[in-house]
């Protein structure tokens, strides 16, 4: 005589449904980087987070939270006078990281998500003459305070083989705005290192 498994089956599928719904699908990254390993295991915050991805001497920007993304784009719209439609903004809120100057951002939004990865994105301009990176950081912070009423956290995700001056430039951009505390995203390393 075998036991009645109906209830167990119910519970199992309830949990399964829960985990499937809470799992967020991983969006492929526009700039894949190989992060260096470390033994420190602090987890990154889930929300209120902006990630600066540094690789191949380019900087890409990624922001968590749909509402924060939309608000950031609106602030950037005002700053640079580039117009985005409502559907552009919604599309932008669903995107992952990007690395184009603000002028060509609309072109990137119009692309299909599979094409965005293939598109050769030049990185966000960060020179002193046209420092759009600084504006993105500043407006993302403003937007996060407006939307979530919290200070935005920053994380730097750098490629292990990236030259230090490229990282230094990004750190400087953050420090210029008195963001002195941020996270460095690293991979996992064995205990016996």
């Amino acid at each position: 005589m075998s036991t009645d498994m109906t209830a167990m089956c119910d519970v199992a599928f309830l949990l399964l449904t829960f985990f499937i719904l809470t799992a967020t699908s991983k969006v492929p990254e526009a700039l894949p980087v190989d992060t260096p390993a470390s033994t420190v295991e602090t987890k990154l915050p889930e929300s209120d987070l902006a990630t600066l991805i540094v690789g191949k001497d380019k900087v890409f920007f990624d922001l968590k939270g749909k509402d924060v993304r939309i608000r950031t784009l609106e602030l950037m719209e005002d700053k640079y006078g580039v117009k985005f439609s409502e559907s552009d903004k919604t599309e932008f809120s669903l995107m992952s990281d990007f690395g184009v100057p603000i002028a060509s951002l609309k072109g990137l939004i119009d692309m299909k998500s599979s094409d965005r990865i293939k598109a050769d994105q030049p990185g966000i301009p960060k020179d002193s003459t046209d420092n759009q990176l600084r504006e993105w950081i500043l407006n993302a912070r403003k937007a996060n305070i407006e939307v979530a009423n919290k200070e935005l956290n920053f994380a730097i995700k750098g490629d292990a083989q990236e030259n230090y001056p490229a990282i230094q430039k990004v750190m400087d951009a953050l420090q210029d705005q008195n963001v002195n505390s941020f996270s460095l995203i690293t991979g996992k390393r064995g205990k016996d290192f």
């Binding site: 009645d4 498994m5 470390s38 420190v40 490629d159 230090y164 996270s183 460095l184 016996d192």
Partner: protein, 181 residues
Amino acid sequence: MAELNTGDGGGKDGKVRSKKLSSKVDLTAMVDLAFLLITFFMLTTTLSKPQSMSLALPDKDDNEINNKEVKVDENRTMTLLLGENGKLVYYMGLITNPLIAPKDIAYGKNGIRPELIARKKSVLEYTGNPEKGIIVIIKPSKKSKYKNLIDILDEMAITDVKTYAIVNDFLPEETKLLEGK
């Protein structure tokens, strides 16, 4: 309930009975599958979170730095110069009058780590105050890689060095040290 029984073999007493189908189905395989998927989704949702190390840098204000220079005891400072192709040079004290002359050293378990632990101990003996430990100055050169910096920051975490700073200014002697030989 594990089987779709078809009733007891009819026809013993010659009557033909319509076969009764049990309404219970064996759920074992289904439950197995459900739990397998649960395990998969549980692990993928929690394991995909990236890990990070936090870094705090001092305020950047040119005026203030010019006004009040931070004076530190040179007996407590250890300077690490990060160079090209994994080159690592360290010295204690001032570059002009070092307590321990600049020396090349390797990264990792058998290189910088025992040295850091030993220096940390000797500095504590020197000051005799647990709050005044070693001060490590990390100077990544223009040619160093991001990996080198993370490796050193990781060593700081492993050896539990509380005070360290990333400094970008190089003295001429230090540049010579990294390029020399």
